[in-house]
Amino acid sequence: MWEVTEQRMWSNVRLLFAKELIGALRDRRTMILTIFFPLFFYPLILAVIGHFTTVEQARVEEMIPRVIVVDHAQDMGFLSYLQLNATLTSLFYDDTEAGLADVKLGVAEAMMLLEKETTKPESSLDVTLYYDQTTQAGTVASARVSAFLEDYLREVIRGKLDALGVDYDELSPPLTVRVEDIATSESIGKMIIGRLLPYFMVLAILTGAMGLGAEITAGEKERGTIATLLVSQLSRTEIVLGKFLTVLTVSLVSSLLSAVGLLVGIRFFGGGLAPTGATATFSLGASAFGWMIVVLVPLAVILAALVVIVGSFARSQKEASTYLMPIYMIIVLVGLVSMTGGVSFVGARFLIPVANTLYALQEIIVGTVEIRHLIYTFAANAFCGALLIAASIRLFKREAILFRS
């Protein structure tokens, strides 16, 4: 008897699920948001970003920074060396304040203030370098001026040693420094994918759920079709489960297609996303992608159930969208923090929904995944998802909620 009842229940759920899914497939807005947008917009955006990043990097490399020089030292040796330097363009000012003002205005990228240091036994040149680190040009100018000053220092030391009869080139340096980056182009690629993909996949779950979810819950109330469903031989539990499964399916499809669009975009146009001077190769194994889906499903259950709850409570689609905004903002903020890589996310923190998924996905992509993190993530999200499904069914049975006016 119980088996027949249960069979009938799932048969009814499938009926409603099929009807809702067909309705969704016939809705132009859902198709645009779920299919067209992720598959075409993401690669397009990455192509545009990649193009402008490459152009900007080339511009910066070819740039000869303008440096304002305020000379209170009258060191002819330095000035001669400066004028021979082809990597900088010098603009000579008398007034320090005027020079700083023009750096802020962008007339020049940096300023050197030259003063005589007279407190030491032998007077030397005191150089203060001013630049604006908030601009890329300022940072490049600062690096070029620093390199120039190092060269000048080396020449001055060489001259002093020559005067003492010592050949600078024959001196053994007490310290030699070589910097080797052990990151491979593959690991750089994984780092980039690991920062971007989880954020967009998680966000796509919610955006996919929000659009359709509000329509098939609050929208039913707005259109007046809810009464027809309630009078049918579908129980309220079956109605909620049918709608929940529809929202879950569409949200997961949205997430998967976002991943495909993003990966295609990164693969072909992501070169500009690599750090300056580095190259990145982009790949994601099928096994890693499979594990990502496994981790994403419980989070999709949570978000789909939340959307159904909010939609059941709201009187209209617009009201539902308003109530869902705080959830959207939380995911955006948590996602942005996860992209910076600045937060240490370990151990029991993997019990926190949404954040746990973002960091678990990052670990899977980069290849540093810990099994206990996956277990915590799956268990915590599955538990929350089950609670929210039960809450959505309970809420849907309440007249005061269903017929709020």
């Binding site: 009814n12 009926l15 409603l16 009807k19 067909i22 309705g23 016939r26 809705d27 259109r223 007046g224 079709t225 009464a227 027809t228 309630l230 009078v231 049918s232 031989q233 579908l234 129980s235 007249e399 005061a400 017929f403």
Partner: protein, 250 residues
């Protein structure tokens, strides 16, 4: 007399509002017999929709009882839903589905076999003059066509009791006429029909018996002839005002 298909006894429905408790339906009692069209006549806010929603198991009575086709709506709502067809004020249709798809869906959730569904779709669409629209999406229908399809949806599973809330709401004279004729046809086929309306002419044309509802209470009940005799008026609108007496307010 035919058997009682709908029995309402001391029905009360209370809603909690910010201003306190609203008694939307106040100690309502009436019986609807097999094969008749029973009309609940009253203005907006009289309690008609609330009453019909309680009959249809959408709302639960605060007190009192409702028996539909022999089953208590509170104790056995599933059994009641098997035996009713419901038409809300809104058409309750999905714009992206065709007429056939709509009827097929409701036929399936009302547990008809595929053979039964196809046979009934053809017959009902033909009966209501909708055959030519079978493959068209509901979103392209006129209001009258949508209302007729809603009627078709409500009878796809051949329920003995039909509950129609303002069936001619928002329809022009041609469409309203078509709906009235369809409802008369349903009565001829043996269905028991309870409908609500605020339009006097609809009640006059369709109803075997009329219940005058105002502020949640039944002020008069009977055939049109009985009401005319009781209140000494011929016009149903005059009968309405005579029945509600001093309570009538704008």
């Amino acid at each position: 007399m035919s058997e009682a298909m709908v029995e309402v006894r001391n029905l009360v429905k209370l809603f909690k509002t910010r201003k306190g408790e609203l008694r939307a339906v106040d100690d309502l009692s009436f019986t609807c017999y097999g094969g008749e069209i029973f009309g609940l006549l009253g203005p907006n806010g009289a309690g008609k929709t609330t009453t019909l929603r309680m009959l249809a198991t959408i709302l639960t009575p605060s007190s009192g009882s409702v028996m539909v086709a022999g089953f208590d709506t509170k104790a056995l709502p599933d059994r009641v839903r098997e035996r009713i067809g419901f038409l809300a004020t809104e058409t309750g249709l999905y714009d992206r589905f065709t007429a056939q798809e709509t009827l097929r869906f409701f036929g399936r959730i009302n547990r008809l076999t595929e053979a039964e569904i196809e046979e009934r779709i053809e017959r009902i669409l033909n009966m209501l003059g909708l055959t030519a629209l079978a493959g068209r999406r509901v979103g392209t229908f006129s209001n009258g066509e949508k209302q007729k399809l809603s009627l078709a949806r409500s009878i796809i599973h051949n329920p003995p009791v039909l509950i129609f809330d303002e069936p001619t709401f928002g329809l022009d004279v041609m469409a309203a006429r078509a709906v009235i004729e369809a409802i008369q046809l349903f009565r001829e086929q043996g269905h028991t029909i309870i409908l609500s309306t605020h339009i006097m002419q609809v009640a006059e044309k369709l109803c075997n018996r009329i219940g005058i509802l105002y502020h949640g209470r039944l002020h008069a009940l009977g055939t049109l002839g009985a009401l005319q005799s009781r209140f000494g008026k011929d016009d149903l609108e005059d009968i309405f005002f005579a029945a509600v007496g001093g309570e009538a307010t704008c």
